[in-house]
């Protein structure tokens, strides 16, 4: 029992409610929102520290013994995800303070933002499938509001497919849940793990597993279910799209990793075999899609898809090393991708546009912004010694280890294509001389609100790259817990096991 697990969920909701009470006091509301984001980060770090010190933590909400009540569980994977959520939440909250004009930050913006953070934390902490569904809906509601924040025309054309396809995904998830409950009589994931060990209806279980794969696959932007993502992620304000790019698809990946290690482990050859093919296709289509784009945020959006492919690859290969790679990749990618979206905002402030044809000369005019782009971009592409290099290295090593040479070749090729895209942005936006055009390169003096979060995230990327060993150790521990879930099951069900 560890009450600390409730704080990463509770704090954002308290902040959201309190910020609504301060509806008419925008300055106080803003201060409260920033304090809430920092508090959430502190709570996440506290959970992480407790998990580091004492292993897997479980909290039975309301003292209802598992599997009857709702369990909150934090293992190393959850704790790592929480810390990254806290970091990105704080970074984007600070950036939003610099980006959005006061009238767009007033009223309910902060409430939606913190509800989203609370929903994310809940999804990472819950040990119950129906509860996971509820957290998904909480996130969705908040993200729908944020997706259309500002209400420009393009946001509606992006939001309509986003809303419809995400609703469809949650409905599929709910249907899978219902059938799973019908077959096993439980929705507690640890309890499901035990039931699966002895369940006879394996064919039906595999069918349900694919329902879950489709539902979480839509969320994660998996091939061929990703079309909503590049249609919508470039439309909202920068801070919001950075938070979405860093977190939302990764919740889908997290849910896939969680369910396909803890629950659906009965037929690894089928489920993970299909996942392997999908992962390869996701990587390739994402990176090819990016090559065809010519605007900053759309290239980045397509790269989310190809990177999700790498993470799925780690899950699909199903060896300890591959899972370690997947967890490492998740941590690295969330920070780098959110940062790239934030940098795209900095460059838009200078050029007035994100159309690469009309950009240029940023390196000469703003070397600092160029450096801040360089670090996450080439980390994404996998340059040593940045964080992306280690993540890719682990995954390629894992696929070579079990002699999946084709997969390793695809991973290397997609990495090369990623370099191509990043170099394209680098040359077009930063290196080539500024094209004579209708948009003036404005004299911009950056407020610390915008520069600070970008610098902080770039620094974290550097630290993960240079000090890869501790992060590797953490990812390795997380992967071991996932491969052998007995400790997880024990932590949840100890005591009142029926």
């Amino acid at each position: 029992m560890s009450n600390i697990l409730i704080y990463p969920i509770l704090l954002p909701f308290v902040t959201a409610a309190a910020s609504l009470l301060l509806w008419r006091k925008p300055v106080l509301q803003q201060a409260l929102s920033l304090a809430g984001a920092v508090g959430h980060l502190a709570a996440c770090v506290a959970v992480f520290a407790v998990v580091r010190g004492g292993g897997i933590q479980a909290l039975q909400v309301g003292h209802w013994p598992a599997p009857y009540g709702i369990s909150l569980v934090a293992d190393h994977l959850s704790a790592l995800m929480l810390v990254v959520t806290g970091i990105l939440g704080t970074a984007t909250a600070v950036y939003a303070r610099g980006e959005l004009p006061a009238h767009l930050r007033a009223k309910s913006f902060h409430a939606l933002f913190h509800v989203l953070l609370g929903g994310l934390s809940g999804a990472f902490l819950t040990g119950d499938l129906f509860n996971l569904y509820v957290w998904f809906e909480v996130m969705l509601m908040a993200s729908f509001g944020l997706m259309t924040w500002g209400q420009r025309r393009s946001q509606f054309t992006g939001a309509v497919p986003y809303v419809v396809i995400n609703l469809l995904a949650t409905l599929l998830f709910l249907m899978g849940l219902a059938l799973l409950y019908g077959l096993t009589g439980t929705l507690n994931m640890a309890h499901l793990h035990q039931k699966m060990l002895t369940h006879e209806a394996r064919g039906l279980m595999t069918a349900i597993a694919f329902l879950f794969m489709a539902a979480f696959g839509i969320k994660a932007g998996m091939f061929p279910l990703f079309f909503w993502l590049p249609a919508s992620y470039h439309t909202p304000p920068i801070a919001i799209s950075a938070l979405f790019a860093g977190m939302l698809t990764k919740v889908g990946v997290y849910a896939l990793i969680r369910t396909f290690s803890l629950v659906f482990h009965h037929d690894i050859a089928t489920t993970h075999g299909v996942l392997l093919v999908i992962a390869g296709l996701t990587m390739v289509t994402g990176v090819l899609g990016a090559a065809a784009q010519n605007t900053f945020r759309r290239i980045l959006s397509f790269h989310i898809i190809s990177q999700v492919g790498y993470m799925l690859l780690g899950l699909a290969l199903w060896t300890p090393l591959a899972l370690t790679g997947a967890v490492f990749y998740l941590v690295h990618h969330m920070i780098v991708k959110a940062n790239l979206f934030l940098v795209s905002g900095l460059s838009r402030d200078i050029s007035g546009t994100l159309d690469l044809n009309r950009m240029g000369g940023l390196y000469r005019a703003y070397p600092l912004v160029a450096t801040l782009f360089f670090i996450p971009a080439f980390s994404l592409a996998g340059f040593p010694p940045l964080s992306g290099f280690w993540a890719k290295l682990l995954l390629i090593q894992a696929s070579l280890q079990i002699e999946h040479y084709v997969v390793a070749a695809i991973a290397v090729a997609v990495g090369l294509m990623t370099i191509f895209s990043m170099v394209k942005i680098w040359i077009e936006a930063f290196w080539k001389p500024c094209p004579p055009s209708d948009v003036d390169v404005a004299e911009v003096s950056y407020s610390g609100w915008k520069i600070a979060p970008v610098c902080a995230l770039a620094l974290i990327t550097l630290l993960i790259g240079i000090g890869a060993e501790p992060v590797y150790q953490l990812a390795d521990t997380a992967a071991r817990e996932l491969m052998a879930p007995q400790a997880y099951v024990q932590a949840v069900l100890k005591g009142g096991h029926p």
């Binding site: 980006e99 959005l100 004009p101 767009l104 129906f130 509820v134 809906e137 969705l140 509601m141 729908f144 509001g145 259309t148 500002g150 209400q151 420009r152 025309r153 393009s154 509606f156 054309t157 992006g158 939001a159 309509v160 809303v163 419809v164 609703l167 469809l168 409905l171 709910l174 249907m175 849940l177 219902a178 059938l179 409950y181 019908g182 077959l183 249609a231 919508s232 470039h234 439309t235 304000p237 010519n294 605007t295 900053f296 945020r297 759309r298 838009r348 402030d349 200078i350 050029s351 007035g352 546009t353 994100l354 159309d355 948009v439 003036d440 404005a442 911009v444 950056y446 407020s447 915008k450």
Partner: protein
Amino acid sequence: MESALAIISGSMVAGGIFLLLSQNLVRMLFGLIMLSNAINLVIFAAGGLTHTKPALIKTGQTILHTAVANALPQALILTAIVIGFALLVFMFVLFYRSYETLGTVDTRQMPESDPEPDHGAGTTTTRLEHGP
């Protein structure tokens, strides 16, 4: 009874998907409503249909003495109905606002989302048009 419910929810899912595939936002909305109700029926059927009493404990007693119906699927459906309703209301508003902004409910006539919206340069001049 189970097979009847299975057929009903199956045809509702089919109808919902058919409506979702149309180009009209209003029909898509109806499709999603149908789908979410179909899935509530699936939860109901998957929970096991039995002809027994509701799970009520008589006054003065602390535990149940007779076999009763499983109350959990009903709780799940209630939660799902509430959440589904909230989402549908949001979607209704979103579709209405996008009809107001874009002037059409036909998804084929909606403009391709702009490649990348340009904003004014600099923090001070960042413009986001406000809806009408």
